[in-house]
């Protein structure tokens, strides 16, 4: 009762604080800003918060909070636009939405998918806020129960989702996930700094690959290239079909699924250090595992949209708990949020929850209110924005590519970002072509650093405890919590393997000659073999063991698949090659020719810097590929470049320079 006595007045105070007109104005400003940033593919919470951070110092705390919270709350909602409409994850929180959302858009049901997604987001966000309200007092012991062994187990649970996303040939899923894990180890090791598959002569690699770039490369580039080759609108029917009312009904029919996913979101969000990038996959995986009829997953099942979208908004509420109680961010955007709080003169931590309870509840309820406003706005807008799918894609693609290149460059502000983007994009194209699960690759990549870090740290602590006594060691590893998660993981793998055939990224599965799939697999095998050899040369045990073990397992998978390929006929599913038949093979434009446009952009960027390169690229693309007149091409180009300059100006960012800039001092934006 004591708790309520302190909580209730604080809640009341928080409500009066939020509903002051000035705070509402800042909240709406944050929502609008978040909405416009979230819509752009690849730009998420970190970009948005960084944009408002310079203005935080000296702002009134409640106003500044309203602005930031409004922005954070709406991004997992609005990033759905690009996941559903373009097949490009709007941010790392809606990667799983692409799996079913994009096929729905292709079928012409974009508005339905969007409406269901927004309702789920709204519901998840509100649920997250309610849980946050009640939990803020009792969360502390719960969070402290999650030690390193438990976090490691949660990470493994996340990895077990690979089983269900592995696709037709489970071995390929293992190889894809292994490659993702290995890609995540590139660079200086987190613990000891040993170099893995990199050298100090290429400083870019030392820091490893960035999630934004891998996400964009693995999903966005293959989809853009594939759609470009068709030279058609995204929605083949050319209509929006079932409207947003249908989407809301769909959500209502699956409200239990939505609730469950939201709870998954809150729970995963609460655990600090785990990050939010897994939550959508876990929710998606469980949705498939528990569904009765699974045939449609991966081809446009509305439940595949509802589950991740309910969880990723709820996660923000959950993620605020460790951020506020411990001052430890649960995700990248929460880290920036924490920086913003510091600039407002608030330092989150135990004392903030105890002494600044009204401020804490202001944050919680701003989050809820922003969710309502954001989802409402998105639903109203979805009808119009969904029309994007009816535009001829050739006219849309260059702009998308421009935004993606810009977004990728934000991660490290190095030309290496663009090289990595194209390189990973190429890998993504091949993975898609030969039917290797791209979600599996991405899950592996996302969880790689965590899996390695938690495993190493838990191992160090356990070893130290075992040195003292066996009992102390076992007490540490085998807690009820970690055993519980282990059971869940085993169940998830078991159900996953049984049902993985039901989730298909590509519907038709043409098989062709053996040569191309075998060559691709040999290349993968060679890369993994080199990685294993490279890892074996590392002297520091903690830095070598993870890539070594994962590499050897992956290598075993590669050899097993090679043997299977040797023994089976050309019609075996191992030889799936999208270029051998179906819509890709019949596309009017060739793969290499389409890809060379982007290589051209890269080469021109190396010479002239991105801005000049973009001008040339857009102009030539619209003229030659789009078949527009010179005048129209120039206008289209000018519009695009003006937009990106505006965006860069607002964000205060530069563009990648080229050789030209090394010799001449040019004014911004050409610098």
């Amino acid at each position: 009762m004591d708790m309520f006595a302190t909580a209730l007045p604080a809640l009341g105070e928080a409500v009066t604080l939020i509903f002051r007109p000035e705070q509402l104005m800042f909240l709406v400003a944050g929502v609008l800003l978040g909405l416009s940033i979230g819509v752009l593919p690849g730009l998420g919470g970190i970009a948005g918060l960084s944009l408002v951070l310079p203005f935080m110092f000296g702002m009134e705390p409640v106003s500044g909070l309203a602005l930031m919270v409004g922005l954070i709350a709406v991004i997992p909602t609005s990033d759905t636009f690009s996941s559903v409409l373009l097949g490009i994850p709007g941010s790392s929180a809606s990667q799983a939405t692409v799996l079913d959302g994009f096929p729905l858009a292709k079928k012409g049901q974009a508005a339905r998918a969007l409406a269901a997604a927004f309702m789920s987001s709204l519901y998840g966000g509100l649920l997250g806020a309610v849980v946050l309200t009640c939990f803020i007092f009792i969360a502390r012991p719960l969070i402290l129960a999650f030690g390193l062994p438990e976090m490691l187990m949660i990470t493994v649970l996340g990895l077990s989702m690979v089983a269900i996303l592995a696709g037709r040939v489970p071995l390929k899923g293992v190889i894809a996930a292994g490659m993702g894990l290995m890609a995540g180890t590139i660079g200086a090791a987190g613990a000891g700094g040993s170099l893995r598959m990199s050298t100090y002569d290429i400083p870019y690699l030392v820091d490893g690959l960035q999630l934004v770039i891998v996400g964009l490369g693995i999903y966005a580039i293959p989809e853009i290239v594939s759609l470009l080759r068709q030279d058609k609108p995204i929605a083949t029917s050319g209509q929006l079909g079932l409207g947003w009312m249908q989407g809301i009904k769909d959500w209502w029919a699956n409200i239990w699924l939505s609730t469950r996913s939201a709870f998954i979101g809150v729970t995963v969000g609460i655990i600090p250090g785990l990050g939010g990038s897994v939550v959508d996959w876990i929710a998606y995986g469980f949705a498939v595992q528990t569904a009765k009829n699974k045939e449609n997953f991966g081809q446009g099942d509305i439940r595949g949209v509802i589950a991740p979208e309910s969880s990723n908004n709820a996660k923000e509420g959950g993620g605020l708990i460790p951020t506020l109680i411990f001052g430890i961010p649960g995700s990248g955007s929460m880290a920036v949020f924490l920086g913003g709080l510091a600039l407002l003169g608030l330092s989150p931590g135990p004392h903030m929850v105890r002494q600044d309870l009204s401020t804490t509840y202001t944050i919680v309820w701003s989050l809820a209110l922003a969710n309502v406003i954001g989802a409402g706005l998105c639903i109203v807008l979805s009808k119009y924005i969904a029309k994007l799918t009816t535009i001829r894609f050739t006219l849309l693609a260059p702009y998308l590519f421009m935004i993606i290149a810009f977004a990728a460059f934000q991660s490290r502000q190095s030309i290496g970002d663009l090289v990595a983007l194209i390189g990973i994009g190429f890998l993504g194209i091949l993975l898609r072509r030969f039917d290797y699960s791209r979600p599996a690759f991405l899950i592996g990549f996302v969880l790689s650093a965590q899996a390695e870090g938690f495993a190493n740290m838990a191992n160090q602590i356990a070893a130290s405890r075992f040195r003292r006594s066996w009992e102390a060691g076992f007490d540490y590893i085998f807690t009820p919590l970690s055993i519980g998660i282990l059971v869940l993981t085993v169940l998830s793998i078991w159900i996953g393997i049984k049902q993985s055939k039901n989730i298909r990224e590509n519907i038709d599965a043409p098989t062709g000659a053996k040569r191309a799939p075998v060559i691709f697999l040999l290349c993968i095998t060679a890369y993994i073999a080199v990685s294993v050899w490279d890892a074996s040369t590392i002297t520091r045990f903690g830095d070598k063991i993870f890539p070594l073990v994962v590499g050897i397992v992956t290598l075993a998978g590669c050899f097993a698949l090679l043997i299977r390929m040797r023994l089976s006929p050309e019609t075996d599913e191992a030889f799936i090659d999208l270029e051998a038949g179906g819509s890709d093979a019949e596309a009017p434009q060739g793969l290499w020719w389409t890809l060379s446009w982007f290589l051209g952009l890269l080469v021109m960027t190396f010479i002239f810097g991105l801005v000049i390169a973009l001008c040339l690229f857009l102009l030539l693309f619209f003229r030659i590929r789009g078949g527009l007149s010179w005048v129209a091409s120039t206008l289209y180009m000018a519009g695009g470049v003006a937009f990106i300059l505006f965006l860069a100006g607002v964000l205060g960012r530069d563009f990648p320079p080229g050789l030209l800039q090394a010799y001449f001092d040019l004014p911004w934006p050409l610098t």
Binding site: A188, G349, G542
Partner: protein, 360 residues
Amino acid sequence: MSMKLKALGMIAGAVAAATASMGQAQDLAGETVEYVIPFSESGGSARWANFYAPLLSEALPGNPTVVVRYRPGAGSTEGANWFQEQTTDDGTLIFGTSGSTQFPYLLGDPRVRYEYSDWQPVLASGTGGVVFLPPDLGARFDGDFDDLGDEFFLYGSQGATTLDLVPLLSFQMLGLQVDPVFGIEGRGDGRLMFERGEANIDYQTSSAYIASVIPLVEQGLAVPAFSFGALDENGLIVRDPTFPDIPSFKEVCEATAACDTEGLAWDAWKAFFISGFAAQKMVYLPGTASPEVVAMYEQAFRDILARPDFAELAAAELGVYPQLTGDGGRSASDQATKVSDEARGFVLNWLNEAYGVSMQ
């Protein structure tokens, strides 16, 4: 929203104008000063830079816009390598470093392609740190570590070549059996390990200690053992003025039988303590900046430090630590970026023997 965008647009315009026209050095009116830090938006350096940026804007002649730019990467060495190549000479570019930039430089990290002596320091800011124990071990700590020599300690560490070098070396000198658990990503994670009971010794820098550990101390969940101390004007280690009730490492070392405040280990500890804490964060101009520009920045920082409300502003954001400019800043920078070959050799040898870390 639209007002916000308008304001942002104006800044964007100012950026364009600033780079287009190279104005006069002594007056930065209408210019934009880029305050680059080699870290991300979330760390302590961002907080520090964002604290000084608006003050600088008021203090510099012509009141230029001062924007903080973030260039994180490779433990801050990437940003520092970038700054090394800059030749801006009109005062529109300044660079903020921290202990994480200093240590790789001092240890001869192969990633380092920058040279501190090429740059011109205009500000040096100090900070401090406090080591604390769980209550059961704290009860056995009586000003010295003599009774804790046979205890097994676990310590969450970001890596032996980061700022954690100083506490790790302290533990080693005190004769403690500490197993560092490498691989955490920030000191906050270390504190969380401590709160979960997985680690049983930890340290936090001053601002984090005030915000997050003092509440634990008040609840009886943590006991402070020692602060690293502060440097007085004679170059001696004294109690940290922010924590006058907590003994300094020097006091605890003197009281502990295993620990010596003379000799090679002590000299090395002191050298790295100064670099990592006493002059932890510094502001530099490129080597190409003219003497007038340097003088202009020194004057601006002097004006900031002389503001009547500075002590109050700084206490909340930075703690009670020396903020030095002019000759004081130069000598602090000198001390922070130079260690004797003996001290370096000692630390490199110790890192290799204790943790298998080498700098090749």
